[in-house]
């Protein structure tokens, strides 16, 4: 009897520990989510007095049928993410592999590659982009002479500029991913490489046969992190649009509907990623 009480007390302790999170979760997450779902089926009239009129799925229909901006913006954000995410993963993996060797200045390089994370994606980055840093970085980085652009003609040089500034922004977003990959690479036992070297494997083969399978869980982690990071980034265009609808046009019901559709999309996407990754991820040992 007393033993059972002890077990139960221990279980209760578990709930005590997660209680702060649970309270916060209900107050600052579940309640607002449900409330915004509820608003999304209504038309909000008058911000001060707040009268709600039930309109059914009208707000959702509005997004696809009447709103000329939402669907194109939505697709452009998806397009950006589909292009950026693989590049971020590939770049950060390459940089992490380069950083993972024993060499002089390793500490410096590791510290340097994380620095752009400090800039974030908010106002500081905006100021830098206004100043045109995004375009200048890679032009200076590659050492492309300014005169080269004179020969390209205006449209083509503009294209090159856009491409370079886009690549720069992608590079600056790899900080956290590089660190995670580095941590993953540290976890691979060196004896694996040594024994395969004895068997005559080249570096290239070792990458495909050892590094990549063993790092695949980190790739999944980074993939999810990158996707969530880019879709929930408050500076992405669809987020700015929803904010604009809610706080400038004050169409609260419509903004809630847009927010919910966007959320449902992210949720579905992450579920698909996890489901699809089950076969591709190699887990060593038991899980």
């Amino acid at each position: 009897m007393k033993r059972l009480g002890l077990e139960r007390r221990k279980m209760l302790a578990g709930y005590v520990y997660i209680a702060p999170w649970l309270v916060g979760f209900v107050l600052f997450m579940v309640y607002p989510l449900v409330y915004s779902l509820w608003i999304s089926f209504h038309d909000v009239e008058g911000v001060g007095s707040f009268r709600l009129k039930y309109v059914g799925f009208l707000n959702y229909k509005h997004a696809f049928v009447l709103d000329p901006q939402f669907v194109p913006l939505f697709f452009s954000v998806i397009q950006d993410t589909v292009i950026n995410t693989p590049l971020i993963i590939v770049f950060s993996l390459i940089i992490a592999i380069l950083l993972n060797r024993n060499m002089k200045g390793r500490a410096f390089f590791r510290a340097a590659f994380f620095l752009p994370v400090l800039i974030g994606s908010g106002m500081v980055l905006q100021q830098l982009l206004y100043a045109g840093v995004g375009q200048k970085t890679l032009v200076n980085g590659i050492g492309l002479p300014q005169s080269a652009f004179l020969y390209m003609g205006p449209t083509f040089s503009q294209m090159v500029f856009d491409l370079l500034s886009r690549l720069t922004l992608i590079f600056w977003k790899t900080g956290v991913q590089i660190l995670l990959f580095l941590a993953g690479l540290q976890g691979i036992s060196p004896s694996l490489y040594e024994s395969s070297k004895c068997d005559g494997a080249t570096e290239w083969e070792m990458f495909w046969k050892i590094t990549l399978p063993l790092i695949s869980p980190v790739i999944l982690l980074n993939l999810v992190y990158t996707l969530v990071d880019s879709f929930t980034d408050v500076t992405n265009r669809i987020m700015l649009y929803i904010r604009n609808v809610g706080f400038v046009k004050i169409e609260l019901g419509y903004a809630a509907a847009l927010g919910w559709m966007y959320f449902a999309f992210i949720f579905a996407l992450i579920v698909i990623v996890f489901a699809a990754s089950k076969r591709l991820i190699f887990y060593s040992g038991e899980r």
Binding site: M11, A13, G14, Y15, V16, Y17, P20, W21, G24, F25, F28, M29, Y31, P32, L33, Y35, S36, I39, F50, I95, L98, L99, M103, F108, F109, A112, F113, F114, L115, P116, L118, I119, G120, G122, M123, V124, Q126, Q127, L128, V133, K136, T137, L138, G141, L179, L180, A183, G184, G187, P217, L221, F231, T232, V234, M239, G246, G259, W260, F267, I270
Partner: protein, 314 residues
Amino acid sequence: MKAAPQSHRLLRFMRLGLSRLTSRSRWFGFLYRIFVYFLLIDLSFVFLYPFIYMVTTSLKTPPDLLDFTIKWIPTSMAWQNYAYGIVGLKYGEHFWNSAQTSAFSVIGQVLACSFVAYGFARIKFPGRETLFMLAMFTLLVPPQTVIIPLFIQYKAMGWMDTFAPIVVPSFFAGGLRGALFIFIFRQLFRNLPWELEDAARVDGCGSFRVYWKIIMPLTTPAVVVTVLLSLVWHWNDYFEPNIYLTSQDKYTLPMMLPRLYESLNETSATHGMETFGLPTVMAATFLVIAPLLLVYLFLQKYFIQGVERTGLVE
């Protein structure tokens, strides 16, 4: 008998070939290493560029700015740009606002997320996995989806134009990516040996004392990672403060940057020299992230080790 010299010759030939091959691969290795260094230096330039640009531009005088032969080193150090930046941002006042919101959020997240993670990692109770999944699921919710109800809620609670909407959720293991920090602490806690706890319990330690006196001192890597990421994200956050803080004396530092930019544009537009404000803007921008740079400088070594030691990627 006859085959002996033949095989001997073959052996010598093979040895020769092998040595030639290894010497070639040594050359190749050397070149490869130089190539890697070159690549890393070039790449790190891309990552350092915004900072180099900020600092060099912020020290330029208007003539230096227009002179395109001057790329990096200005002819004279225009420190006055920093003075303009400090005045334009009202640095003293708004630094405090930023420091308060960020510091309290960081403290809240370190305490609350480690506490909650201890429950998720070390105590078995029904529904634990489901609840943990739910916690992770909060990371997927875009801030825009919940901002309107939260706005109404905070207004009703009288929290508008205070730091409470930014700081208080952190103490409930929420706030900016609170769930991520729960995850980080949980990963570390799970890898700690159980014997630690058993020994303390035999000595009559309660679970809270185990958490606070035994487990927490071992979590320095996770604390460093959480402190730095949480600080960076809260310090740079613009979205939430911009919605919840309405009076200008409550503004955080990043919120002052667009104000400065606009006021400079107005004054320079009347004088017809739009770009001359750029050094001041860059000085101000640098001033905004300088505290983060300083903190990163001190924590950087522990931070990068920390990511490896928390077992974040296992």
